[in-house]
């Protein structure tokens, strides 16, 4: 491996590119200048034929800095995690063909959760497009249903405007992934650099502020409701509305339940917090929604993992729905009081209009439910995964950013970790992408210098993107990766246990799993193993002390633990299994 000194020396040997002084710039240079104009600090990427000139221009720059991943899917999840943790636009840069298709799962992940990521893909030369040229793929066509918007740049003069628009579209309105396809000849042709100051997209004017008449009506209904519930989703985080939400809940005394993506929007140690709702939500949040007379949806979209059987969801309630995307409103459930606008702006306008509601009896009833149906798990000699989650919170504190993969561990984290602050929860909700958690933690860590990042992953999902250990080591990131190792594809095993007569078809990984400690050590990372309950906290504390390297902890947890509560698929709140 090169030492830092050697690297510096090598850098000096290469002539500085004068992209800031030259009259005419190549497409690649214009692209790099445009990224600088957008304030991009990190570009998650992987080189290849068409984008070599772009990588060349980025070679000596400290900003943007290329973060070299080991698989383009990893780069995409890193950019996504970066965006979730920081609220800034994540950026990916990869070459054409197979590199572009490697992004697809990640783009769909960002699309489902409305995460702003700009993807720059190389493309074969404009005259070769359509000829089945080497490494040609119609990536615009492939990603059309999973991008907010996409561009094929056909002229070097269009690069600046396109990049400006791509970033603007990605981060405004309902955020989402944008793809910019850059043909080889466009990257090589020359023109002058002029970065536009403003965007003008006639067909794109997202509604930021809610209709005041509608907001007034909402305030009126809220005042008369006897059993109201705030149902908060990722939109509250995307629009940075946690402060306003907190004020609203306390001013009105309305309890708050969040979706998986809404975790962190409202502090879970607050007496008004009901935790997460839905398939694996708390008993009391699901019961509160079942009994409520007014459900105030804030940046949430009535996803089927939340509603279960749609006709039986909140059967006694009227609905207020605040969302920036009109298409989210009345999609699954007919809403009584729609308000189109960003959550933050609408809550701001709503705040002075609401009164303290008399929810005393309602909160008392909920308090009783919390006592009689608390979140629980059986304590035992074996390491309980829920205990590991609690220990992580205890050792790492409220400010830590948690990313998770997909499966049982994700649900345990959502239930047993008490999220306090927004943007501390990085998880793939809508698509449920295994392999997301670890690379997303790398992105989150790069976005948040000085803050601890912990990835909670399953032994299955971790192996889907484990190659990124190299990236984490290369970046000297002090992240902790907690592998909740149950030797199974646990969530699938749980369904097999409950719904398929315990026929564990192809879900046991135990005998073929690698030795995770040896595996990460081979990459130069730190590996630790925990096999006893009383080692959980001390090992986590030890991991917190490790400097300049990622730590991977193999937690050998109880293999047969299940996630409860659970509302079986397609069932209703009252069918909940505790």
């Amino acid at each position: 491996m090169q030492t830092v000194k050697e690297k510096e020396k090598e850098k000096k040997m290469v002539a500085e590119p004068n992209i800031f002084t030259k009259q005419r710039l190549t497409g690649s240079e214009i692209l790099v200048r445009s990224l600088i104009e957008e304030g991009v600090e990190h570009v998650f990427g992987y080189p290849g034929g068409v984008v070599i000139p772009v990588f060349d221009k980025l070679y000596n720059l400290s900003r943007p800095k290329i973060v070299l991943c080991r698989h383009e899917q990893g780069a995409q999840h890193m950019a996504d995690g970066y965006a979730r943790a920081s609220g800034k636009v994540g950026v990916c840069l990869v070459t054409s063909g197979p590199a572009a298709t490697n992004l697809v799962t990640g783009i769909a992940t960002s699309f489902m959760d409305s995460i702003p990521v700009v993807h720059l893909t190389g493309q074969v030369g404009t005259t070769a497009i359509g000829n089945d040229a080497f490494q040609e793929v119609d990536i615009i066509g492939i990603t059309r249903p999973i991008t907010k918007h996409s561009y094929l740049v056909r002229d070097v003069n269009e690069i600046t405007r396109t990049i400006k628009e791509a970033f603007y579209i990605a981060r405004t309105g309902r955020p989402g992934p944008v793809l910019v396809d850059l043909p080889k000849d466009v990257l090589l042709s020359e023109t002058e650099f002029h970065y536009p100051e403003t965007v003008n997209i006639p067909g794109y004017k997202p509604t930021e502020n809610g209709h005041i008449q509608q907001i007034r009506k909402a305030a009126e209904v809220m005042a008369t409701a006897k059993r109201p519930v705030l149902y908060v989703g990722g939109g509250a985080i995307a629009s940075n509305a946690a402060g306003e939400l907190n004020e609203l809940a306390h001013k009105t005394n309305i309890p708050v339940t969040t979706t998986l993506l809404g975790l962190g929007a409202f502090p879970e140690n607050d007496p008004l917090s009901l935790g997460m709702l839905g398939m694996h939500g708390t008993w009391y949040s699901n019961m509160a929604v079942n009994e409520c007379d007014l459900l105030i949806a804030v940046g949430s979209r009535f996803d089927d993992r939340v509603t279960g059987k749609v006709d039986a969801f909140a059967p006694k309630a009227k609905f207020i729905h605040i969302d920036i995307d009109p298409a989210s409103i009345s999609k699954n459930i007919k809403v009584d009081y729609p308000i189109v606008g960003s959550c933050r702006s609408v809550l701001k306008d709503l705040l002075p209009l609401v009164q303290t509601s008399d929810t005393h009896d309602w909160l008392e009833m909920i308090g009783h439910w919390k006592q009689t149906h608390p979140l629980k798990y059986k304590k035992s000699e074996k390491i309980k995964p829920q205990y590991v989650i609690e220990a992580i919170h205890e050792v790492c504190g409220d400010d830590t950013i948690l990313s998770s993969d997909v499966g049982q561990h994700q649900m345990w984290l959502a239930l047993h970790y008490k999220f306090i602050k927004p943007r501390t929860n990085v998880t793939s909700g809508g698509l449920g992408t295994m392999g997301f958690g670890f690379p997303a933690a790398i992105g989150a860590a790069l976005a948040s210098p000085g803050r601890k990042v912990v990835a909670v992953v399953g032994d299955g999902g971790f192996q889907m993107t484990a190659q990124e250990i190299s990236t984490a080591v290369g970046q000297r990131l002090e992240i902790i990766v907690a592998i909740i190792n149950n030797g199974f594809l646990g969530m699938v095993r749980q369904w097999q246990e409950l719904f398929f007569g315990k026929r564990y078809s192809h879900t046991c990984l135990e005998y073929t799993n690698p030795d995770f400690v040896k595996l990460v050590e081979a990459y130069g990372a730190v590996g630790m193993r925990v096999e006893r309950h009383d080692e959980v906290v001390p090992v986590l504390q030890k991991a917190m002390q490790v400097k300049n390297l990622p730590v991977f902890i193999d937690f050998r947890v109880d293999r047969h633990e299940n996630v409860f509560p659970m509302i079986p698929p397609g069932k209703m709140a009252t069918d909940i299994i505790e």
């Binding site: 066509g141 094929l152 056909r154 997209i201 006639p202 067909g203 004017k205 298409a327």
Partner: protein, 173 residues
């Protein structure tokens, strides 16, 4: 379930039609017909889509279309006073004996004979969907050899006595 005629103003750019077709296929919406061409402004195209669905589906279709960046205006013309027209080219088998009956039918529909051969006649008929359908039904017994229909194009009537309702569009009229 009702048939709706939706009129769109879209940017006349590469890939826009594909985006719209993709939306319909991806979301499983019906597309009974789609018709598109440049408008008086070469930067814009007008698209007329005929689709079928219940109220909630139609509401979603309009909202989803509005979400597309290249779409400037979406109007559901179904309950507006509007003109709609379709054109069909119908090639019918004929013999010396049936030829005059076919021409008579064409006359009734104010259709034109646009091509003739010893064994066929090609008729061009325009009108609302039901008129074109009626003409086709009348010609069916003679044996339709080939047919091409444009699908509906539509525009809102100007003098309806009401102010135009562009409420579902993104930019004010």
């Amino acid at each position: 379930m009702q048939q709706h005629t939706i009129s769109l103003l879209v940017e006349n750019k590469f890939g826009v039609q594909a985006r719209i077709a993709n939306l319909f296929s991806g979301k499983g919406y019906n597309m009974d017909s789609i018709c598109v061409a440049e408008t008086e402004n070469p930067e814009l195209s007008r698209m007329t889509i005929v689709t079928t669905g219940d109220d909630m589906v139609i509401e979603q279709i309009i909202k989803q279309l509005n979400r597309l960046i290249n779409v400037l205006k979406v109007v559901d013309l179904t309950f507006e006073d509007h003109i709609n027209r379709e054109l069909a080219l119908i090639k019918i088998n004929c013999t010396a004996t049936t030829r005059s009956s076919i021409i008579q039918i064409a006359d009734i529909f104010q259709a034109k004979i646009v091509d003739i051969s010893p064994k066929t006649l090609t008729i061009e008929v325009t009108g609302g969907h039901s008129k074109v359908q009626a003409c086709i039904n009348m010609l069916q017994p003679f044996g339709i050899k080939e047919m091409a229909r444009t699908g509906i194009v539509a525009l809102r009537r100007e003098y309806t006595g009401r102010s135009p309702d562009w409420s579902s569009s993104k930019i004010p009229a």
